[in-house]
């Protein structure tokens, strides 16, 4: 009894505290979901204006919807693509008009709410891996055009695997709190000091193209750190280069170069597209020239590559590894990279490469190991893979050589650790 009495003392003050807890829990619960909208019947494809469908196709390409909503070798937009995040794996949803597994039953209003408020048809919060923090900037007419485009795709019955998220991120209602902290709904205000093209670019980049989703670093809760916008981030194991003045690029990213890069995957003085950027450029190659130029105009205004590279004093030091790396370069890389792009069959001179000058070695390691290989049946920049050629030690030597000779910077701190962390993929040809 004594023990019980002791406990009753302990909880003597509980009523008020308990009430407070009840209120907080109720508030969290209320945050945790939104009511479903009134049920509607989906429209047949023929009901959509072909002009809206075509416009939607262009917008879906700018948004690169396909990358996350298509499984490898899967039907377009049928979902199932695994996206690994620091919180676990999320699978892209099926956004074909299949009524069971896709969005066939979604009304235009429900689609609008998902895009701009991050709430699904049943009223549940959508994980912000779906970048509605950007799509909230997209105007209603454009969202409707995307709806028209998606609703006229081939319906595919395919349910993606359930997400594999660690506790507590598997509690979907907690996304409500995340939104309270980091989600700011509403359109982007035009900048009157800039011209129409720049503002069109800002509308696309900050909205549908969601460039910041990968090119801006994220905080421990996965929200973009707005004070460091376009400072460089991460995507699918790649380090996304900074798009601002902190860029490691050795040549300025002018509007013309960005335009060429975004439309063709290659410009005259920078690395070609690789990794998750490759499918984006593939999409942008089909988008109107005006919109790509607008994107280039806005991004060029961030000033990447404008400042000359700070050259490290240590870089000139001859390291033993650098000598071994030089022999590898001479036999494995020089036949293309010493020629430069001016020569047919030649590749970028690596003194112009951003990958060798970035703060992290990850992209260089991936490119050397996996090469740059367009998706099956598609064309694009190409480089052979060296996974089977180089051992980890040899890759280390080569990376030190490329970094110090061409990047003109001191060797990366934990190169061996990065090489170990990035699993080799020798089965890739």
């Amino acid at each position: 009894m004594g023990a019980l009495r002791g406990q009753s003392w302990k909880y003597a003050a509980a009523p008020t505290r308990g009430a407070a807890i009840v209120v907080v829990v109720a508030a969290l619960w209320a945050l945790g979901w939104q009511p479903a909208l009134a049920a509607t019947v989906s429209l047949p494809g023929a009901a959509f204006d072909p002009a809206a469908v075509e416009k939607g196709a262009q917008l879906a390409a700018i948004g690169n919807c396909k990358s996350c909503h298509t499984a490898p070798n899967g039907k377009p937009y049928a979902g199932g693509r695994a996206l690994s995040t620091p919180f676990g794996t999320i699978y892209g949803s099926n956004i074909t008009p299949d009524p069971e597994s896709g969005i066939g039953n979604w009304s235009q209003a429900e689609f609008m709410r998902a895009m701009r408020e991050g709430v699904d048809r049943r009223g549940r919060h959508i994980y912000p891996a779906f970048p509605y923090d950007h799509y909230t900037r997209v105007n209603a007419e454009d969202v409707d055009a995307i709806y028209a485009f998606l609703m006229t795709r081939e319906p595919v019955r395919a349910a993606p695997p359930p997400n594999e998220l660690a506790f507590p991120f598997n509690i979907r209602s907690l996304v409500g709190i995340w939104k309270l902290l980091y989600f700011h709904a509403g359109p982007l205000q035009p900048n009157a000091a800039e011209n129409e093209q720049w503002n069109r670019g800002a509308y696309l980049v900050e909205g549908l193209a969601h460039c910041g989703a990968c090119h801006t670093p994220r905080n421990f809760l996965g929200a973009e750190i707005k004070s460091r916008a376009f400072n460089g981030g991460q995507a699918e194991g790649w380090q996304t280069p900074a798009l601002d003045a902190s860029s490691a690029a050795s040549s300025p990213w002018t509007v013309e170069r960005l335009y060429a890069y975004l439309r063709q995957g290659i410009d005259d003085v920078h690395d070609v597209t690789a990794g998750p950027m490759a499918p984006i450029v593939h999409d942008l190659s089909r988008v109107s020239a005006d919109d790509v130029r607008a994107i280039a105009t806005y991004v060029a205004s961030f000033g990447a590559g404008q400042t000359p590279r700070p050259t490290s004093q240590n870089a000139a030091t001859e390291l033993p590894a650098s000598g071994r790396g030089a022999a590898i370069y001479a036999g494995a890389c020089a036949s293309c990279h010493d020629l430069g792009r001016e020569v047919h069959g030649g590749a970028l001179k690596l003194s112009l490469s951003t990958a060798v000058a970035m703060p992290q070695p990850d992209n260089l390691i991936r490119i050397v190991r996996q090469g740059i290989v367009p998706a099956a049946g598609e064309s694009g920049p190409w480089m052979p893979a060296f996974a089977g050629v180089l051992t980890d030690a040899q890759l280390t030597d080569l990376a030190i050589y490329l970094r110090t000779r061409f990047g003109e910077r001191a060797a990366w701190d934990d190169l061996a650790g990065a090489i170990e962390k990035i699993a080799p993929n020798p089965s890739t040809p």
């Binding site: 071994r324 036999g331 036949s335 293309c336 069959g345 020798p426």
Partner: protein
């Protein structure tokens, strides 16, 4: 002097460490089964195996090959006693000019050793870095499929690697 292990034999080579393996195989060791195609790692004709992985020998400097095992088309069999893949390519008559075939066979051999139960889709994926301008692709795919099935039904030294 660099010592290379080629088809199970130690071979002394006097060449610059940056020399691509392809030139050493053809010019120093007179193993001319491996072909020069583009010299840029783009066509696959020069493919050989290094430690069980298919690599383009035209962009593989010999300096990276100390203590590693190189295997070429000559290491798979002879005219009198062809290896499993060589036999399958003969049976399917899977060559027209034949120039690209040794490289294709070497990558197929790496697949056969790593993934004997490979599907037709795996074979297509695996051979995708190889160019053949004669258009013998369908026969080549059939030949590799035939060799894989043969290896599965009767595992032989070929499937495990003859010289290892």
């Amino acid at each position: 002097m660099i010592t290379l292990n080629v088809n199970g034999q130690p071979r002394e080579v006097d060449a610059d460490p940056a020399t691509p393996l392809l030139y050493v195989l053809r010019d120093h060791l007179e193993l001319n089964g491996t072909r020069f195609g583009c010299g840029l790692g783009q066509c696959g004709a020069c493919t050989v195996m290094v430690d069980g992985e298919a690599v383009f020998s035209c962009i593989t400097p010999i300096s990276v090959l100390q203590n590693r095992r190189v295997r070429t088309i000559e290491g798979l069999g002879t005219s009198e006693n062809p290896g499993l893949l060589q036999r399958a390519f003969i049976d399917e008559q899977a060559a027209q000019c034949g120039y690209c075939i040794p490289g294709m066979i070497m990558r197929a051999q790496a697949l056969l050793e790593k993934k004997p139960a490979a599907t037709d889709a795996d074979i297509r994926d695996t051979l995708s870095p190889h160019l053949c301008r004669c258009g013998a692709h369908m026969r080549i795919l059939r030949a590799v499929g035939r060799a894989l099935r043969a290896a599965q039904s009767a595992p032989t030294a070929d499937a495990e690697g003859r010289d290892r």
